[in-house]
Amino acid sequence: MVEALLQVKDVTKRFGGFVALDAVNVDVFPGERLGLIGPNGSGKSTLVNCISGTLRNESGSILFDGADIRGLPAHQRTRRGIARSFQIPKPFKSMTVLENLAIPLEYAAREWAHPSQVIDDAMAILTQIGLEQKANERSNGLTQIELRKLELARAMAAKPKLLIADEAMAGLSSNEVDDILSLLLMLNEHGITIIMIEHIMRAVMRFSQRIVVLDAGRKIADGTPEDVVRNPAVEKAYLGE
């Protein structure tokens, strides 16, 4: 039995009186493609924030690569191999596309790289996602889909073991969704474990080997896409009684 790369055990997160996550348990295995879905407000982003370190969970534990990462600030979790993209792209607006990638390449890296190596690595990633033409353009001049791609590229530049894609396809056209989807599939082929949070069902169904469903802070389903789709609790969560 392969040990899980990420183990979320009994994680609870409160905001004042509001319980955003209620004893959530999720295991993610190396090389897996996991879909994380649930109605709005079910706690998906909160879970991502707790895993990445932006938020601290009150109770429960999170183990990554066998080690307890509670208490580690977000930047150290990134250095250990957890990378996430943001739902609403947050580019470094004063920098060019290339410079945006240089930040994670320089800071999340586990060993030092010569500046020219950094540029080479950055260009390689940009070429992979199709943004190499825009390398020296200011990031605040990009289109929506380009910003989404940059967001993913930045997470890729952190050379993660686990990549969490937080609604990377929201608001994109059908072709653009396919673009991002093939990108994520390619990354997974290179060995990166991916958690995809999405509302676009056809993408989640095609992408995921396994789906976890959250509702009102609790996990209500955990199985293959076919199983989850037929799960009455899931249907109730999305459609009501």
């Binding site: 990445s52 370190g53 932006t54 600030p73 977000a74 930047h75 150290q76 990134t78 250095r79 990378a83 996430r84 943001f86 947050k90 580019p91 470094f92 607006k93 004063s94 920098m95 410079e99 240089a102 930040i103 994670p104 320089e106 800071y107 999340a108 890296a109 500046p115 540029i119 930045r154 530049a157 952190a158």
Partner: protein
């Protein structure tokens, strides 16, 4: 990303050489007094900018750090008669440590609370010093300059060279930080702290670095001050003028590069020195305040940003930028010239009219027509009220030319391209 360090090094060497040469050639002491203040502001502005411009955290308590440097000197001079290098190092270290401490307590909070905390710190420090008799308390303390100093004719020249070296050192440090991976990390924090942290940037550690270095620089700026001013009291050591200048100079010069604070400090500092001769020092604050508000509202990237826009821009836009620069020149020189004229109503007019020129200049950047009208009107008014002799003609002519350029800009579509919303506001 890699630019040759040679031009910058040449700049440093030339500046140092010019400064040394000046002490041999210029005999009038007044210039050294004035230059000292301008150079002091180069250090303060550069120090402020490392935390403000590079990292995005506004420090209002500049006076506190400056005064730490000054009062550490007072203590060391009284205790052991320490020489200048020791004073500078000590002042910097103490101020740097205080910066580190303040940062540690408050940098986990949102930026605006850090800013409020820096203000709090300055006032608390001032209260302590006011009640500390060893350094003179509210009565102040006298510091006697050494009679003999090697190499230089007198002590004031020595102070000038000291501050020149400190300024060059500060600028070199800023340049190094800017080019380094630390500088890139700070920029990431400034642009989006949450994303930076998620991308592996140790934000707290870098912010603490920035506060410490910034505090250190502001401290070394204050260390020679007791010798410069000879009589130091909390009111002058903790003056809020340090804060407003240290904020204004980088914002006016440009915050993303080491050159911005230098430009801002030299321009604004020189202007204030000239103005102090002709008008009261309260008006210095007015000049700083008006220029600050003007730049921050219409030219947020400062003079460096305007220079960049000028080199990339369409002719209409260039005319607008030129109009703004001229308007500010006319207005600032006007305040110094006509603001000195007479008392009462005449003086108020001598200040109000050039202020309109400045406002007109700024307006020319976003609404060339209105700005041009304002500049031409105030040029005419200046001439009408104060007559046209060779001195008062300066603001009148510059203002009129600027107004004309604003009209040229309007005719050639000089309003900012992406700012249609401003026109409809």
């Amino acid at each position: 990303m890699r630019k040759s360090p040679v031009p910058f090094l040449i700049f440093i060497v030339v500046a140092a050489a010019l400064g040394l040469a000046a002490t041999r050639l210029i005999g009038n002491q007044y210039y050294y007094f004035a230059a000292y203040v301008v150079l002091q502001y180069v250090v303060l502005a550069t120090g402020w900018n490392i935390l403000g411009g590079y990292t995005g955290y506004v420090n209002f308590g500049v006076a506190g750090f400056f005064a730490i440097g000054a009062y550490t000197s007072v203590v060391l001079i009284k205790l052991i008669g320490a020489p200048m290098p020791v004073l500078i190092l000590a002042g910097g270290i103490v101020a740097g440590l205080v910066g580190l401490g303040t940062g540690y307590l408050t940098l986990r909070l949102k930026g605006v609370f850090f800013s409020i905390a820096t203000l709090a710190l300055a006032i608390v420090l001032q209260t302590f010093v006011t009640n500390w008799d060893y350094v003179g308390g509210s009565r102040g303390v006298y510091t006697i300059r050494p009679r003999e100093v090697p190499f230089f004719g007198n002590y004031v020249e020595f102070l000038f060279i000291t501050m020149l070296l400190l300024a060059l050192g500060a600028v070199a440090a800023a340049w190094l930080i800017e080019r380094s991976w630390i500088g890139r990390g700070l920029a990431a924090i400034r642009d989006d702290e949450l994303a930076a942290e998620a991308m592996g940037v140790p934000t707290l550690r870098l912010k603490l670095f920035a506060t410490t270095v910034s505090g250190f620089m502001m401290g070394i700026a204050g260390a020679p001050y007791p010798y410069y001013v000879t009589y130091l009291d909390p009111a002058s050591g903790f003056s809020l003028a340090y804060a407003v200048n240290s904020v204004a100079m980088p914002l006016i010069g440009g915050t993303t590069s080491w050159l911005g604070p230098v430009i801002g400090a030299v321009l604004l500092g020189t202007l204030q020195q000239v103005a102090t001769v002709t008008i009261s020092s309260a008006l210095n604050l007015l000049i700083v305040g008006v220029n600050l508000v003007m730049f921050v509202t219409v030219a947020p990237d400062g003079i460096l940003g305007l220079a960049r826009e000028f080199s990339e821009g369409r002719p209409g836009r260039r005319a607008a930028i030129a109009a703004m620069i001229l308007g500010i020149l006319a207005g600032d020189s006007g305040i110094a010239i006509t603001g000195a004229a007479g008392t009462g109503w005449l003086q108020l007019l001598g200040i109000a009219i050039p202020l309109l020129t400045i406002v007109g200049g700024g307006l020319a950047l976003v609404r060339p027509g209105a700005g041009g009208v304002m500049m031409l009107a105030s040029a005419v008014a200046t001439g009408a009220v104060f007559g046209l002799d060779p001195v008062t003609a300066i603001p009148v002519v510059i203002g009129a030319v600027g107004g004309g350029l604003a009209y040229v800009s309007r005719l050639r579509g000089g309003a900012p391209a992406g700012d249609q919303a401003l026109k409809n506001a």
